[in-house]
């Protein structure tokens, strides 16, 4: 009886994966059959400075976006403790999640504009110099990270909020009787018991951050943005190879390498969890 579901899984996930894997060993024109070129695409990839740069950008972005996890934990704890307005806070933080990335990117582009942006205006009020946040590749990844953290906050808060609610109240009461302060409770009760949720959120955040494409696409706007070359992520490089330069085999190789990176990153996280995640 699960055959139909398997067919769907096979057609929608397995087959594209296999075909991408095969294509990564081929030189494929956009249309029609390609020819096998062995590991050519992979050797070319390893010698491609753009690839290494994109890898560095994706790694930096992922590292920065992971800073959003502690922020989300603190916020979730504060929201759960709030006497009133919990729902309103949740809605406010969730709004960016259900907003189109394109719209989000456009709005942030205006905020971060070097000459007319709100951010630089605010900085000028406190005497700080403004920068071209989305037109200078020294800053673009940080600009993406700020937006990425803000966009991911909603989902993380929902997951962490649910985790917080499952912590028995008695533990707090007992620890209070023992004289534990609020801060002590947070570190000794909340964090250990929340660790499975924190782990889950960390894994999800890492995977989605490594796949980031939309913010580059939308926030750097036109092809004439000279910061684009220094700001590409791995998935952007894939998009460019497959859809702009018509090199599907090369694009497939990039996708397979990204898959491998995500698998390794996830495996490492699962190994490390034994040290800090508490399932009792």
């Amino acid at each position: 009886m699960i055959a139909p579901a398997l067919i769907g899984l096979g057609a929608l996930y397995l087959w594209p994966f296999i075909s991408t894997f095969v294509k990564s060993f081929m030189d494929v024109p956009v249309f029609g059959a390609g020819e096998f070129t062995g590991v050519d695409n992979y050797t070319k990839l390893l010698g491609d400075e753009d690839f290494w740069r994109a890898l560095g950008n994706s790694a930096l972005y992922t590292g920065l976006v992971l800073l959003g996890v502690p922020i989300a934990i603190v916020l979730a704890a504060l929201i759960e403790q709030a006497a009133k307005g919990r729902t309103i806070y949740r809605v406010l933080f969730f709004l960016p999640v259900v907003t189109l990335p394109v719209a989000v990117g456009m709005v942030w582009r205006f905020i971060l504009n070097g000459d007319f942006g709100v951010l630089n205006y605010l900085l000028s009020l406190v005497g700080l110099p403004g920068e071209y946040w989305v037109a200078d590749d020294r800053f673009t990844i940080y600009a993406f990270a700020v937006v990425g953290i803000w966009m991911g906050l909603g989902i993380n808060l929902i997951i962490l909020g649910a985790g917080l609610q499952s912590i028995p109240v008695e533990l707090y009461e007992a620890s209070a009787l023992d004289g534990a302060s609020r801060v002590r409770q947070f570190f000794s009760v909340t964090l250990p018991l929340l660790s499975p949720s924190v782990f889950f959120v960390t894994v999800l955040t890492t995977i989605s951050a490594l796949q980031m494409f939309d913010l580059v696409f939308v926030m750097l706007g036109s092809i004439n943005n000279t910061a684009l070359d220094g700001s590409k992520t791995i998935v952007y490089l894939f998009y460019e190879a497959a859809f702009v330069q018509f090199k599907q085999g090369y694009g497939a190789a990039i996708a397979i390498v990204l898959l491998a990176i995500i698998m390794i990153a996830t495996a490492i996280q699962f190994r490390l969890q034994r040290r800090w995640v508490n399932y009792d």
């Binding site: 009886m1 067919i7 956009v30 029609g32 000459d115 071209y132 750097l220 910061a227 018509f246 090199k247």
Partner: protein, 421 residues
Amino acid sequence: MHKKWLIAPALVAVGALLAACSSGSSADGGGDEKVTITYGVWAGTQTPAMKEIAAAFTEENPNITVKVEERPWPEYWSTLQTGAAGGTAPDAFWMLAQQIQPYAEGNQLLDISDEIDKEGVDLAKYPKAVLDLYDQGDGKIYGLPKDVDTNAVWFNKAIFDKAGVAYPSADWTWDDYRETAKKLTDPAAGVWGTAAPIDYQSGYYNTIFQAGGQVIADDGKTSLIDTPEAQAGIKFWTDLQADGSSPTLQQLSDTEAETMFEQGKIGMFMSAAFWAPQLYANEEIKPNIDIAPLPIGKERATVTSGIENVGYAGTKHPDAVKKFLIFASGETAANIQAKAGAVLPAYEGTEQTWLDAMPDFPNLKIFVEAKEYSVPLPVQGNAAEWQGMQTKYLTDAWNGTATVEDATKQYADAIDKVLAE
């Protein structure tokens, strides 16, 4: 109970697949059966005109309905590519010379030469430069030009008046352009004489040809962008940047040159005719706008290109599509397009309709006159790839952190590699 819910979507999917496979041999609109074909376009400003053309076509061919499908740039191209590979591309769609090669090579485009013969279409009515751009040398004709674009200089009279500078004359030179840009620049007022982005079609390709240079050699195998002539054409722009007569590349990355021009921050904006309807609709800036021809280097030149209407080889209604393609690039459609002011039509003799649509821009005729000294846009090989590398190699030259000689040498090497593939 819930198992059924799993089965239902799977059945629907299988059914859709079967339907897609089995409907290859239906009618094609030549007979009495009613058919609907789709027409893919990207420019929102032109969509109303395209819908009007579609309606006019249905009036002549009551059995064929044309549905205009607009997709924004640059998603247009990724959607088209996956659509063509997956059999869901629009039946008719806009094509660019930089993009046609993989589609033609991959047999994704409908050869309409038989219909052109049958209908007696006179190819001499279309700009030869544009037809040549799309000629794949395989003896087939995949489409006909819908419009043609040339470049000129849009300028803001108010900025000239304020600086007390005379308007450009018809025979002004590169030196005049540079001097004028300097004089118009007023940092205190946030006004720049011109905008000098890294823009191939509206920018440095024009000056490369004006300097007597070429981007790609005639045999299409090597780049000539590192020759002294081409370098002179690029220096035209780096000089403007060095003079401080243009916003920096960063500023132009944040806010596009055209937007800055509409905001009244740019005195002279070198670009194509397709901005005309947008500038004409901007009531605030319209009274200040005028047009001058491109300045003269060693010679006069402008690159030219144009959109072609082409058909999808996988269409179920090839005859209807061919009929529509010829109509959509024909005289009636060209006049509809011109009347809407959308864009300069390719069809000879319809230019006046376009000029009449925007009477407050009397010098719009400069774009039409520019056809006489136009050069085809260089699009050899995988043009999308090597043109896409321009910022990677030229940014340092524009910023003054590398010499034009070094930057163009490296860029030429990179282009040669792409052309050799």
